[in-house]
């Protein structure tokens, strides 16, 4: 029996083709579909449309009859690109083909899709099972800089203490900009099949964007100008930007750099002389803890699978140390500013207390780095030695 489609007043210029297409799909190849309706120009449009989709058209007793000549859809030869839910067996493949490109994981990908260049397309190199959980956590923990901090509490600090806060903020902004650019760059290189990783890198970049905002806002809350950006500080960050290897960059930035920064932010949360500075540091630290957790999770999985990775990680630290051997390390302005900021006044006993606090901070950073290196399987002695080689610029 021939299929019939009655379009009434619905024309092909207003979606009528959907009904015709449905009938043609239901009909087998070579079967005919009779189309009738009262829309003006229906027969003219049917003829033009049928030609474009590879159907024959004939007019029988005033009615248009369409016959399929071949496949209508694009599903022949299409391939299922894993599964959307990463927990399902086989959902995330080891090496997704370049032709899966931007297709969502779990989609049916039409054969012949263009091959795109994704330099990071190996599961062993990019994947961390924790990524989905960390992403969900990050998405839930997003805070609004406008409301999370009460900006009406304009600090009234002694001029030099305010200067010190501004100098530390200047340093933080610079470092957080590097921490924004690096995951953003990798997000564009990871095969989209590893969706959770791309999402996590993207939200990490967004976290840093907020940090840059709140640090800038605190720096300019009282003063119009920022502090000094040093050549040594930038040289240290440049070595991070230059690292093309995902594992090594993740190691240097997240495990060592942001790991150290976490201590710095806690230090500011506990020692800063005004509530706004304490708040911005506290909120930023929450986010940084996640970044460190992802870096560690990703690398722990990676070192288990790649016997050479630990040696390469160690080499990366040594290489960076060598590159920065002649740089100044943490600039005096930042170090002194941290002391003054923690002291809160020029009283000698306060300065001494501030100095001790900064010394304790440096020691905590070292202990923290050593602990994380041990979690990556480095023996204690090597972990301590590598931690010592970490940039004096903290990040």
């Amino acid at each position: 029996m021939r299929r019939r489609v009655e379009l009434g007043s619905l024309g092909l210029d207003r979606g009528g083709h959907l009904l015709v297409l449905k009938a043609l799909r239901e009909a087998g190849e070579g079967e005919s579909v009779e189309v009738s309706g009262e829309a003006p120009a229906l027969d003219v449009h049917l003829r033009a449309w049928a030609r474009g989709v590879g159907c024959e058209i004939a007019v029988e007793e005033g009615r248009c009859v369409l016959t399929r000549r071949g496949a209508l859809g694009r599903r022949a030869g299409a391939e299922r690109a894993g599964a959307a839910d990463a927990r399902r067996e086989g959902a995330v493949v080891d090496r997704p083909p370049a032709s899966w490109g931007l297709a969502p994981r779990g989609a049916l990908v039409e054969a012949g899709s263009p091959e795109m260049d994704w330099p990071l397309a190996e599961r062993d190199i990019v994947w961390a099972d924790e990524a989905a959980r960390l992403y969900a956590q990050a998405a839930a923990a997003q805070w609004d800089p406008a409301t999370a901090i009460d900006w009406t509490r304009v600090p009234e600090l002694p001029a030099e203490i305010e200067d010190a806060v501004v100098q530390v903020m200047t340093y933080l902004i610079e470092n957080e900009t590097a921490a924004l650019v690096i995951p953003a760059r990798f997000a564009a290189r990871v095969h989209p099949h590893f969706r959770e990783i791309v999402q996590l890198l993207a939200i990490q970049a967004a976290d840093e964007a907020r940090h840059v905002e709140v640090f800038t806002r605190r720096a300019t809350l009282v003063r119009g100008e920022l502090g000094l950006s040093t050549a040594g500080g930038q040289a240290s960050l440049a070595t991070l930007l230059d690292e093309p290897d995902f594992a090594l960059a993740s190691f240097l930035l997240s495990v060592l750099g942001e790991g150290s920064f976490l201590h710095l932010l806690w230090f500011l949360r506990d020692h800063a002389p005004d509530p706004v500075t304490r708040d911005v540091a506290r909120l930023a630290a929450q986010d940084e803890a996640r970044h460190v957790a992802f870096g560690l999770a990703h690398l722990q999985r990676h070192v288990e699978r790649d016997g050479t990775l630990r040696a390469r990680l160690a080499k990366a630290v040594e290489r960076r140390h060598d590159a920065l051997r002649h740089a100044a390390g943490l600039n005096e302005e930042v170090f002194d500013a941290l002391v003054l900021l923690a002291a809160g006044s020029w009283a000698t006993e306060d300065i001494a207390r501030g100095y001790d606090a900064v010394q304790a901070l440096v020691a905590e950073m070292h202990e923290g780095r050593t602990g994380r290196l041990r979690r990556l399987g480095f023996p204690d002695e090597e972990a301590r030695a590598l931690s010592e080689l970490h940039t004096r610029n903290f990040m």
Binding site: G11, L12, D13, R14, P40, A41, V44, H45, R47, A48, W49, R51, G52, V53, G54, R69, G70, A71, R74, A76, G77, E110, A111, G112, P114
Partner: protein, 293 residues
């Protein structure tokens, strides 16, 4: 994309060279893809782009290219010039979408016009002078309805992309816009463009169709018989074997706007033959080709 076709073309036998008119930047993508495909099939192939059909036809007739991807008017030009030289032009292949097209003459729904005869004394918008679908063939339809263009109806031409034989849709769209804006009483266009213009809103939904041409054919792959016939046959064979079901060629066919290649036929050009027979039009087109030689 690798281009084995190009490598073959450079290193082994002389490639089979086709001319195409660069009416749009996508033409490069299309024929680059075809070149790679033919190369993979062991058929050395290359292409040359022309800025207009007259220059392409001149090159075909002079033997500078082996085949030409021709508009219907370019086919007629090539056929006539070959005949003048004692040669014969062949239509090797055409797209399924080149067969049985129609054009329509459309009026606004709010006008009092009901039929082509009502256009007497009115203004009719057409596309470029060398567009078969938007000018030459619809004017035949008007004549068949007893209206002599220029005498019984005023013809308003939208000369966009002359030399591209209507491949550039600009003139046709401008004609439709003029109709919608009230600058003329009717406009001529391809059936598929009537659908497209209605969908995109260039034309109001209920624009009234006053007349529709009988079916005609559009482009074909033209060769001159007696020149590299065996390669021409192989070329046609490879084209006809391309399947939309094959993902490797589907993207190429989608870009070029077809589901399947069909053997070339010349039965669908009678209306255009009549169109260019009027008022010495064919001679003028042929002179333009000769001027390119």
């Amino acid at each position: 994309m690798s281009r084995p076709g190009k490598i073959d073309a450079m290193t082994s036998s002389r490639p089979y060279v086709m001319g195409a008119v660069a009416y749009d930047p996508k033409v490069v993508t299309i024929w680059d893809g075809f070149r790679a495909f033919f190369g993979e099939q062991g058929f050395p192939f290359d292409y040359v782009l022309f800025s207009n059909y007259e220059r392409q036809v001149a090159a075909l007739v002079a033997g500078q290219v082996d085949a030409a991807w021709n508009s219907p008017l370019a086919w007629i030009e090539a056929r006539e010039l070959a005949r003048q030289r004692g040669r014969e032009a062949r239509a090797l292949a055409m797209r399924d979408t080149d067969q049985d097209l129609t054009s329509v003459i459309v009026a606004r729904a709010d006008s009092s016009l009901r039929s082509l005869a009502d256009l007497r004394g009115r203004r009719v918008a057409v596309g470029a002078s060398d567009s078969p679908q938007a000018t030459l063939i619809p004017l035949v339809l008007l004549r068949d309805a007893g209206l002599e263009p220029g005498r019984d109806v005023e013809i308003v031409r939208f000369e966009v992309g002359l030399g591209l034989h209507g491949d550039h849709v600009g003139g046709e769209r401008d004609a439709a816009r003029a109709l919608a804006a009230g600058g003329c009483d009717a406009a001529c266009m391809l059936d598929a463009n009537h659908l497209a213009f209605t969908r995109e809103g260039t034309l109001p939904p209920a624009a009234r169709i006053l007349g529709q041409t009988p079916p005609f054919d559009h482009c074909n792959m033209t060769v001159i018989a007696g020149a590299r016939d065996a390669e021409a046959d192989r070329f046609a064979q490879l084209l006809l074997a391309m399947s939309w079901e094959d993902p490797k060629v589907r993207a190429l066919l989608d870009l070029e706007g077809l589901r399947a290649w069909q053997p070339g036929r010349t039965s669908g050009y009678a209306q255009l033959d009549r169109g260019v027979a009027q008022g010495g039009a064919l001679s003028r087109f042929l002179e333009q080709v000769e001027a390119c030689a």
